[in-house]
């Protein structure tokens, strides 16, 4: 069914699993040490989460090996929806904080 030839060995999935565990450990370490300010911490944690989700979608969910049309259509449409949500809601949340509403 897949039109892209790929190495489907089990070994790569163990590597991905190991990488996900290491990234999780890094996240927990950052939270324990609290080396960054909250906003910077949020940015770093979100970047790590996006990397982890890309590994899960690409390898475990096999999207990396699907046809390009399916790959791009799914990724672009869902990402676009999240970007729209972001622009709708977060400036407003920040505005409320700036106004000092308790």
């Amino acid at each position: 069914m897949h039109d892209v030839p790929h190495d489907d060995s089990k070994g790569q999935y163990f590597w991905v699993w190991g990488a996900l565990l290491v990234l999780t450990a890094a996240e927990v370490l950052l939270a324990y040490k609290q080396v960054f300010q909250p906003v910077r911490m949020l940015e770093i944690l979100l970047i790590l989460s996006v990397i982890k989700s890309a590994l899960i979608i690409g390898y475990f969910m096999h999207l990396k090996f699907e046809r390009a049309l399916m790959r791009w259509l799914l990724v672009i449409s869902v990402t676009a929806c999240f970007i729209i949500m972001y622009f709708f809601f977060f400036p407003d949340a920040d505005r409320i904080l700036q106004l000092g509403v308790k």
Binding site: E27, A31, S49, R67
Partner: protein
């Protein structure tokens, strides 16, 4: 006009062949599951945005998760990540036609998923016992706990925390039932019925999961309808599609864990 109609017919029913290759190069139930997951990701996206919106707009957002809670959530994360690996191994076994190992890997995946639910349930029970409840819900018996004041001062915290994590826990529970149906078929109905009845009588009536366990009852009815009305021998494609759902549940937690737990740590 008549020519145009004729040309249209030629295009529709020409001699190019009766079979048209699928647009995405994948079988229909796989495409269907991907479309469902895309829509479901927006459900979780909306809940995560709601959580983050409140988190940003409230200056005095509580940070109730101490070392014990973070350690518990880390173990839960490891359980889900490991369950994704066993799920992949189950798909491999199904693709090479090894029925015994397909079942074994699916059961291992279910075991990790069940461990996640149990650990999450214990975390919830602990927080509720310490006073973290939704406004309008009955308060825990006994003296007011550490989080009773948090529930009063920032009701958005328990509302978004329980809303988001309950939705995820529901998805994990549905995932375990889904995998049970694929792995064990009708045998799973008996196992699920025993767990449901035992859970209902063993969980104390003042615990939220005494009522939450009815999700298993609904799952039991739904699984029975599917298994009796459309009995089939689940093949490698069915295992792969169930795996897509399971990995998605894992994927969502990769955002809940840092946003909800790690950004609200109380490490002293």
């Amino acid at each position: 006009m008549a020519d145009a109609t004729l040309q249209h017919d030629v295009v529709q029913h020409g001699s190019a062949g009766d079979y048209e290759a699928p647009l995405f190069g994948a079988y229909s139930k796989k495409v269907g599951m991907w479309l469902f997951l895309a829509s479901d990701s927006l459900t979780f996206g909306a809940l995560l945005v709601a959580f983050s919106y409140n988190r940003i707009s409230m200056a005095a957002w509580p940070t109730p998760f101490g070392k014990e809670s973070i350690a518990n959530a880390t173990i839960m994360t490891a359980c889900l990540l490991s369950s994704s690996l066993t799920m992949v191994l189950g798909v491999f076994a199904a693709q090479r036609g090894d029925r015994a190992w397909t079942r074994n890997w699916l059961l291992a995946t279910m075991a990790f998923g069940t461990a996640f639910i149990v650990l999450h349930g214990m975390e919830w029970s602990k927080l509720i016992g310490e006073g973290l409840t939704l406004s309008g819900f009955p308060k825990a018996a006994g003296p007011a706990g550490e989080f009773a004041a948090v529930s009063q001062a920032v009701p958005q915290f328990p509302a978004t925390f329980f809303g988001l994590t309950a939705m995820h826990m529901l998805h994990v529970t549905i995932g375990v039932i889904y995998l049970g149906v694929v792995a064990l078929r009708k045998l799973f109905l008996a196992i699920l019925a025993v767990i449901y009845i035992a859970g209902y009588f063993l969980i104390p009536s003042d615990n939220v999961f005494h009522y939450g366990i009815h999700v298993l009852g609904l799952g039991l009815i739904l699984a029975a309808v599917i298994l009796f009305l459309k009995p089939k021998d689940y093949d490698a494609h069915d295992v792969e599609v169930s795996g897509l759902y399971w990995h998605f549940v894992d994927l969502v937690w990769m955002f809940i864990f840092p946003l909800v737990y790690l950004m609200s740590t109380k490490i002293t």
